[in-house]
C-alpha cells in the first residue's frame, strides 16, 4: 500500500476498496519495523492514529470525506499537537504535552487524517542535518551513513522510506528543501505568510514557514492546499484566497522562462550535483522552456545576514524556555538565577546555545547597528536581487545544496561549514519567496534535488512546473531498496 500514490490511496478510500484503519495500520507496522533503526520519528502515536482512522472510515462510509480524509500524516515535531508530546527535538520540551493544536495540525485533524506521529528534527530547527536532536540523529534512508538533511530530516526520511504518505515540515533557512533534496522527495516552502505559524514553535519568526513534504508535486499540491490559508491568530499570515493548486497542474511549460543564476553555479558547487541540475534544466528545455541567464549578485551576503538575523530572533524567541511554566526545570535550583541558567543550559543542546548567544551578541549594546541593522539592509539587497531577476524570468532554477547528503558526523563539529551548506536556500528565506526541491537524480548514489524558486505567491505555478517535470521523469517514484 505504501507504494501507491496519495491520489490512488484516496480513490481506493473513497470507493471503500481499502479502509483508513488498514492503511494506517500498514504504516504503523512499517514504522515498527523500520523506524527503530532509521530514527525518523520522535513520537509514534498508534492509538491516536487508529482512532482517527476509525473516524475517517465513518466519514467515508457516510460519503462525507474530503479527498485526504483517512490518509495518514506525520507532523514535524515543531507543530504543537494537542495531547501529544511536542519536543521540537529538545530535552527542554521532553515532557511537554501540548495543550493545543497548531493551525496545521488542526487543519489535518479536521479532515480526519490519522496522525502517525511526530518526526525528528534538528533541535529547535537549528541545523541542516537532523543530528542535533535530543533524540539522536535520523539516518538517510538511501544511505545510512548519510544525514537526511535538516532540520526537517525526520519528515524527509519518513516520506523517502515509505513510513508516511504525507508529512509536514518547516523551512527557516532551507529546512524543507535541503532534506527533500538529500532524501529524494518533493518539498515546498510557500511564500512567507501562506501557512499560519500559529502553534509552530518559533525559531526565527520572520523566516519560519511551514510547508509540505511528499513524494510528488501533485501530492504536495494536495497537502499544501490543506495547510495554507488565512488564520487570524497569526498577524503575519496573508489575508488572501488560496488558489486551487491541483487545478493548475495541467499547464504546459512551453515558453516558460527559466532564470539560471550564474552565482548558483560558481565554485563550491559539487560537479556531480551540477550535472544533475544541468540535466534537469535540459529536460525542461526539451519540454519547450527557455533558459535565461540571470544574476543574484548579493547571494554571498545572504549567509552572514541570515546567521545574524535568525539567531537574533531565536535568542528572543527561546527566552520563554525558562523552567517556570512548562518544560524542563533543573533539579533543586538554589535561587532564581540558578533556575534560569541551569534549566536552560541543561535543557538546550550545544548548537541552540551557540545560536542564542550569537543572537544575544548581535543585539547587544554597541553591536546592534554593525550587525543586526546591517544584516537587515543586506536582507533587502538580497530580496531586490530576486525582484530584478524575476523581471526577466518566470522561475529560477539551480541546486538546492552544493553537495549530496554528507556523512553523519562530517560537519557536526564545525558550525561554519554547516552554515555554508545552506547558501542556495537561505536567500529565498531572506526574501520570503516560495521555493521547492524536486528529485532530479543521484550523485554518488545519494539523491539530488532541483531547486525551483518563484516570485511571491507563485506556489500554483511552481507546483505545476514541478509536476510537468515529474510527468517525464521518475526520480520521485524511486524508493531506496531497503524500504521497498
Amino acid at each position: 500500500m505504501h507504494t501507491l500514490s496519495v491520489k490512488e490511496m484516496s480513490e481506493k478510500l473513497q470507493k471503500r476498496e481499502i479502509t483508513s484503519v488498514d492503511l494506517t495500520q500498514h504504516y504503523l507496522n512499517r514504522i515498527s519495523q523500520y523506524d527503530p533503526a532509521l530514527n525518523a520519528y520522535v513520537t509514534v502515536t498508534p492509538e491516536l492514529a487508529l482512532e482517527m482512522a476509525k473516524q475517517a472510515d465513518a466519514l467515508l462510509d457516510a460519503g462525507k470525506g474530503h479527498a485526504l480524509t483517512g490518509i495518514p500524516i506525520a507532523h514535524k515535531d515543531i507543530f504543537c499537537s494537542l495531547g501529544v508530546k511536542t519536543t521540537c527535538g529538545s530535552k527542554m520540551l521532553d515532557n511537554f504535552i501540548s495543550p493545543y493544536d497548531a493551525k496545521v495540525v488542526e487543519a489535518t485533524r479536521e479532515l480526519a487524517m490519522p496522525i502517525l506521529g511526530k518526526t525528528n528534527m534538528d533541535e529547535f530547527a537549528m541545523g541542516s542535518s537532523s543530528e542535533s536532536s535530543y533524540y539522536g540523529a535520523t539516518l538517510n534512508p538511501w544511505d545510512h551513513q548519510a544525514v537526511p538533511g535538516g532540520s526537517s530530516g525526520g519528515a524527509a526520511a519518513v516520506i523517502a522510506a515509505g513510513l508516511a504518505p504525507l508529512a509536514t515540515g518547516s523551512d527557516t533557512g532551507g529546512s524543507i528543501r535541503q532534506p527533500a533534496s538529500f532524501c529524494g522527495i518533493t518539498g515546498i516552502k510557500p511564500t512567507y505568510g501562506t501557512v499560519s505559524r500559529y502553534g509552530m514553535i518559533a525559531y526565527a519568526s520572520s523566516f519560519d514557514q511551514g510547508g509540505a513534504m511528499t513524494r510528488s508535486a501533485e501530492e504536495a499540491a494536495w497537502l499544501l492546499q490543506v495547510m495554507a490559508g488565512f488564520d487570524e491568530r497569526d498577524s503575519t499570515c496573508l489575508e488572501q484566497e488560496v488558489p486551487d493548486y491541483s487545478q493548475q497542474l495541467g499547464q504546459s511549460v512551453k515558453g516558460l522562462r527559466i532564470g539560471v543564476p550564474a552565482e548558483y553555479f560558481e565554485s563550491g558547487l559539487d560537479a556531480s550535483v551540477e550535472k544533475v541540475v544541468r540535466d534537469a534544466l535540459a529536460a525542461y528545455e526539451a519540454l519547450g522552456a527557455e533558459l535565461i541567464p540571470v544574476s543574484l549578485p548579493n547571494k554571498d551576503l545572504a549567509v552572514p545576514a541570515y546567521y545574524v538575523l535568525a539567531p537574533a530572533e531565536a535568542s528572543s524567541n527561546l527566552s520563554r524556555f525558562d523552567g517556570v511554566r512548562y518544560g524542563y526545570r533543573c533539579e533543586n535550583p538554589h535561587d532564581l538565577e540558578d533556575l534560569y541558567h541551569r534549566s536552560r543550559s541543561e535543557g538546550f543542546g550545544a548548537e541552540v546555545k551557540r545560536r542564542i548567544m550569537v543572537g544575544a551578541y548581535v543585539l547587544s549594546a554597541g553591536y546592534y547597528d554593525a550587525y543586526y541593522l546591517k544584516a537587515q539592509k543586506l536582507r533587502r539587497m538580497v530580496r531586490d536581487d530576486f525582484t530584478k531577476a524575476f523581471e526577466s524570468c518566470d522561475v529560477i532554477m539551480g541546486p538546492v545544496a552544493p553537495t549530496p547528503a554528507f556523512n553523519i558526523g562530517e560537519k557536526s563539529d564545525d558550525p561554519v561549514s554547516m552554515y555554508l551548506a545552506d547558501l542556495y536556500t537561505i536567500p529565498v528565506n531572506l526574501a520570503g519567496l516560495p521555493a521547492m526541491s524536486v528529485p532530479a537524480g543521484f550523485a554518488e548514489g545519494r539523491p539530488v534535488g532541483l531547486h525551483l524558486i518563484g516570485p511571491y505567491h507563485s506556489e500554483a505555478a511552481l507546483l505545476n512546473i514541478a509536476h510537468q517535470y515529474q510527468q517525464v521523469t521518475d526520480w520521485h517514484c524511486q524508493m531506496p531498496a531497503t524500504y521497498e
Binding site: 507543530f79 504543537c80 511536542t86 521540537c88 520540551l93 511537554f96 501540548s98 495543550p99 493545543y100 497548531a102 505559524r197 500559529y198 502553534g199 509552530m200 514553535i201 518559533a202 526565527a204 519568526s205 520572520s206 487570524e232 491568530r233 497569526d234 498577524s235 503575519t236 537574533a312 530572533e313 535568542s315 528572543s316 527561546l318 527566552s319 520563554r320 524556555f321 525558562d322 517556570v324 511554566r325 512548562y326 532564581l336 534560569y340 544575544a360 543585539l363 547587544s364 549594546a365 546592534y368 543586526y372
Partner: protein, 475 residues
C-alpha cells in the same frame, strides 16, 4: 549656589479594554490567580500575538489631547530580560517608533504660576504579571493574570523642578486620561502608576545621576518620596559622595527610600522589532475620525464654565475636576437654567453628602434630574431654602423626587399675601413694646419680627415675602 532639582516622570496608564493587548483573555481586577492567563499570556511555545483594535484610538486620543505628533507607522519592539513575571522573556513595547511621538505638552499650575511640561513620547506596551512573595516560604508565587494588560507609558521630559510640580503634572495626566475615557485612573488597583526619575545638579552644569522611584500609589506619597529623595541626594553630594543610578522603593511607614536593585548597568535590553507583529499604520482619516470624537478637555471646560455660566474660576475648576462631576453639573443646569444655584448645590449639599458617605458622583443616590427638580421648586418659591435641605435629605434616603417629598411632607410654602399679612398683624399686635422700640431706632429688632412670623407660620411662610411685608407694615 543652591541645588536645582530635575524630575521626569514615566506614567503607566492601563487602558480600559475588555481583553489583553495581544490576546483574547479577559481583564478583571482581583480574579483568582492565573485564571485569566491563557496560552499566549503564559508564553506557550508557538503562540502568536494579535493586536487589540481598541488600544490604538485610545493612545491616539491621548496624543491629540496633548498636541503630540501621532506615529503614522509605529512599531512594536521586544525588550529582552528574564524575570518570572515576564513569561516570554521579553516585554512587547514600542521603542524606536512610538504611537504618540514628540511634541506633546501638558500645562500645570503651581502656586499660581503656569508651566508647560513636555511629553517626550507615549507608547503602547504589555504589562507583566505579579510576583507574590509571601504565599509560600522560600518561594515566590507567580500570577500571570495581569500579564498582557495594555498599558500606555507616558514619558515626560525632565522638565519638573520640584516635587510639587511633579505631582501637579501627574495629577493633570491622571485627570486627562480619565477625561478621555482611556484609563480608569484607579491608583490602588495599579491602573495608574507613576515612576519618578529624580536628580539634582548645580544650575549651568550637566544633569546629575538620577534615581528612579517606582510604583508609588498615591499623589501624597509621590510628593513625600520625591522630597526625601532630594534631601538624600543633597546630603550625599554635599558630603562628597556620588549618587548611584538605581531603582529605589519608597517605604511610606518609615518615610524613606531604599535601594531595590543596583544592577541597572547589567541591563542590556537588546530591543529589536518584534517579528511576530507588523507596523501599525495610522492614516490621516483615522486621526480625523478620532479627533471628531474627542471629548471636551478639562481646561476648555473650565474656560467655558466661566464664560457661559459666569462662574468664578474657583467654582469652574472644582466642577470640571472630573468628567462625571462636570457632566452631572451640566445636566442639572440644563433643567434649571440656573448655573449659580446649581453650582452651589452640586459643590455644597451634594458634595458634602457624597464625601460623608464616601461615594463618587456617579454613585450618587440623588440624580441630576432630582436635584434639578429640587432647585426648580426653590426657584418658583414652592419651598424655602430651609425646606429644601429637608427635601434633599429625603431624596438622598430614597423617598422619591422633590415633588413627591414636598407633597408627602406637606412642605408647601405660604405665599398668600393676605395670610402672611394676617400673621404679621397678629405678631405686631402681640409685641407692641418691641414695635415701639423698633420705631424708636432699634432696627435690630427687625430680625425678631421675622423670626416670630416664621414661627407663627411653622416655618412655611415665604421668607422674602415676610421681609417685604414686614418692612411695609413697620413704616
Amino acid at each position: 549656589m543652591t541645588w536645582e532639582v530635575v524630575i521626569g516622570l514615566e506614567i503607566h496608564a492601563q487602558l480600559t479594554t475588555k481583553t489583553k493587548i495581544f490576546s483574547g483573555s479577559p481583564i478583571a481586577y482581583g480574579a483568582e490567580p492565573n485564571t485569566q492567563a491563557n496560552l499566549l499570556d503564559l508564553g506557550m511555545p508557538g503562540q502568536l500575538p494579535v493586536l487589540n483594535k481598541a488600544v490604538i484610538p485610545k493612545a491616539i486620543k491621548f496624543g491629540l489631547a496633548i498636541g503630540a505628533e501621532i506615529g503614522r507607522r509605529s512599531i512594536f519592539d521586544r525588550k529582552n530580560y528574564f524575570y518570572p513575571d515576564l513569561p516570554k522573556g521579553y516585554q512587547t513595547s514600542q521603542f524606536s517608533f512610538p504611537i504618540v511621538d514628540k511634541g506633546g505638552v501638558v500645562e500645570i499650575e503651581v502656586d499660581g504660576d503656569t508651566k508647560k511640561i513636555g511629553v517626550t513620547r507615549a507608547h503602547l506596551e504589555e504589562d507583566a504579571g505579579k510576583s507574590l512573595h509571601d504565599a509560600f516560604p522560600g518561594q515566590t508565587g507567580i500570577d500571570l493574570n495581569r500579564a498582557g494588560t495594555p498599558l500606555l507609558e507616558i514619558v515626560s521630559e525632565p522638565d519638573m523642578r520640584s516635587a510639587k510640580e511633579a505631582v501637579a503634572y501627574a495629577k493633570k495626566v491622571h485627570e486627562l486620561v480619565q477625561y478621555l475615557g482611556i484609563c480608569d485612573g484607579n491608583m490602588q488597583e495599579g491602573s495608574f502608576r507613576v515612576d519618578s526619575n529624580v536628580s539634582i545638579h548645580k544650575p549651568g552644569t550637566p544633569f546629575g545621576t538620577r534615581a528612579e522611584l517606582k510604583n508609588i500609589n498615591s499623589f501624597k506619597f509621590i510628593e513625600q518620596a520625591i522630597e526625601i529623595e532630594i534631601d538624600r541626594q543633597i546630603e550625599i553630594l554635599e558630603s562628597g559622595g556620588k549618587v548611584v543610578q538605581e531603582t529605589r522603593l519608597y517605604d511610606a511607614d518609615k518615610n524613606e527610600t531604599r535601594s531595590m536593585r543596583e544592577k541597572e548597568e547589567a541591563n542590556d535590553y537588546r530591543y529589536f522589532p518584534c517579528p511576530d507583529l507588523l507596523p501599525v499604520v495610522v492614516t490621516q482619516a483615522d486621526i480625523d475620525a478620532i479627533q471628531a470624537e474627542m471629548p471636551e478637555l478639562p481646561d476648555a471646560k473650565r474656560a467655558r464654565f466661566v464664560a457661559e455660566f459666569e462662574l468664578s474660576d474657583y467654582d469652574a475648576t472644582l466642577l470640571a475636576s472630573s468628567r462625571a462631576m462636570a457632566d452631572y453639573f451640566e445636566a442639572v443646569v440644563a433643567l434649571t437654567k440656573q448655573p449659580k444655584i446649581s453650582a452651589n448645590w452640586v459643590m455644597g449639599e451634594l458634595s458634602k453628602s457624597l464625601n460623608q458617605h464616601d461615594l463618587t458622583i456617579s454613585e450618587s443616590p440623588v440624580t441630576a434630574a432630582q436635584l434639578a427638580g429640587l432647585i426648580n421648586r426653590i426657584q418658583d418659591n414652592t419651598i424655602s431654602g430651609k425646606m429644601a435641605k429637608q427635601v434633599f435629605d429625603a431624596m438622598w434616603s430614597g423617598e422619591g423626587d422633590a415633588d413627591t417629598v414636598i407633597a408627602e411632607k406637606g412642605l408647601k410654602q405660604i405665599t398668600d399675601v393676605g395670610a402672611i399679612e394676617a400673621m404679621i398683624d397678629q405678631v405686631l399686635a402681640d409685641n407692641a413694646k418691641q414695635v415701639e422700640a423698633y420705631r424708636n431706632g432699634q432696627e435690630k429688632m427687625f430680625g425678631f419680627f421675622v423670626g416670630q412670623v416664621m414661627k407663627a407660620s411653622k416655618g412655611q411662610a415665604n421668607p422674602a415675602q415676610v421681609n417685604q411685608l414686614l418692612k411695609q407694615k413697620l413704616q
